[in-house]
Symmetry: C2
Subunit: 154 residues, 2 copies
Amino acid sequence: MSAEPRWLSGTEEQAWRGLLRMHDLLVSRAGRSLQSRFGLSGTDYTVLAELTRAADGRLRMSELAQVLGWEKSRLSHHLTRMAKRDLVAREECADDRRGAFVVVTPQGRAAITAAAPHHVADVRRYFLDHLTPGQIALLGEIAELVVRKNGAED
Amino acid sequence: MSAEPRWLSGTEEQAWRGLLRMHDLLVSRAGRSLQSRFGLSGTDYTVLAELTRAADGRLRMSELAQVLGWEKSRLSHHLTRMAKRDLVAREECADDRRGAFVVVTPQGRAAITAAAPHHVADVRRYFLDHLTPGQIALLGEIAELVVRKNGAED
């Protein structure tokens, strides 16, 4: 780059570094609890949550990557590990160029059903309980905006 | 749990799920660029950023885990990989029970110096440019609050 970089201001740095730190801290706290009680990583939980929210418990790989905000390679690696544990299954469709489906298995559904009440309580305890309704709403709006703006660039 | 779980409201869900999705999307975008141009993962960058911000480019493992919001086991695994690539080095101190230091190497410092202008431009392009100064400030405050509240519980 030829021009002098526009380094982040203190406030900008606080937002970006704060986002990374807050995320990693919350995921670490909530993930530790999921792992010790239910043998699920936070990432397993997030994948299962998206699948069980979808009609018939199934999504195309590409849709799932999109809704998670993940690279397809990361998703593919993670699904391989989850499939070995019988939490999800892949359904190839040879005659459909839009790509394979991922479906939650009965065992995956049972795992998230058992974990969900505890996980939601953790999300409240570590995160939502510290914020006002106004802060919660604003954070949701910011996230939605950033996701939409980036999605539109693809 | 005996009582009926307090499931998340739509707004709460938007904040929590939005936080995960926004984070993963931004880390994926910025990380892809770091990896392809500089051979650094986003995580490598974050570790190097914290170390180069510290006096003498060194922090105790425990301080670094705290400031990143990471489990110590995750940090330890990641530092092993970074040390193999000569980006950081560990300094054990046998006579000090407060634990080992991590220090950025000259090669690690050169790597982040080269990557920083591009990375900051990416953070602006994918994230900050979409937000108002008020949103940026609020997000920073929310992150600081959540990190502080959780830190205080330990």
